[in-house]
């Protein structure tokens, strides 16, 4: 599940966290909300940011697993 969590402090400052994303797709997802709220103060990248998106191996198809050997 991909979600964006926004925590707005009692002083009105917003903290945006993306969840469930791998790689830089999270930045694209939250860009609209960031721009709508105001000025970016800081950004922190987490380990998930540097993960590659999961892809299905080409020898796995909808018809089932094909032993490559």
């Amino acid at each position: 599940m991909k979600t964006i969590e926004i925590i707005v402090s009692p002083q009105g400052e917003a903290r945006i966290e993306t969840r469930g994303y791998a790689g830089a797709a999270c930045q694209e997802a939250s860009r609209l909300l960031e721009a709508a709220l105001g000025v970016r103060q800081s950004e922190q990248l987490t380990p998930a940011f540097f993960q590659q998106p999961v892809s299905v191996p080409t020898h796995l198809s909808a018809g089932g697993y094909t032993n490559p050997s």
């Binding site: 599940m1 925590i7 009692p10 400052e13 917003a14 790689g23 909300l33 105001g38 987490t46 940011f49």
Partner: protein
């Protein structure tokens, strides 16, 4: 999570200002030129509880104009409360217009959490 961004709220959206006033049970904002002690400001004015002068939102620049005289003419926490309400309304409006469901809940420290569902939304 994959990245965390901190945003300083800027008040630029008329619709969200109106929604924040409604949320906080404040009078509707009024457009015009408003007196702030010896000066004047033009924009969308918000009347905060027990404040002598309004807070004037200059929407094109995101600037807030006000004079609470170091807190003697108005409690600064009321301004914080307005900014929080504005940010919540603004984020909710933008997310819903993009077709995403939004869940809102209060947190014990006074913050408000919004969770935007990026998949499976209408």
């Amino acid at each position: 999570m994959s990245h965390i961004v901190t945003i300083q709220t800027e008040v630029r959206c008329r619709e969200s200002v109106t929604a924040a006033c409604r949320r906080l049970q404040l009078p509707p904002p009024t457009e015009g030129t408003h007196r702030l002690f010896t000066s004047e400001a033009t924009g969308l004015a918000v009347t905060l509880p027990a404040w002598r002068y309004p807070v004037v939102c200059e929407l094109p620049t995101g600037t807030l104009r006000y004079d609470h005289y170091g807190g003697r003419w108005g409690d600064p926490r009321q301004l914080d409360r307005f900014l929080q309400g504005y940010a919540v309304e603004r984020a909710t409006l933008v997310a819903r217009r993009s077709g995403h469901a939004v869940h809102e809940e209060p947190i014990a420290d006074g913050s408000i959490r919004l969770v935007v569902q990026m998949e499976g939304a209408a």
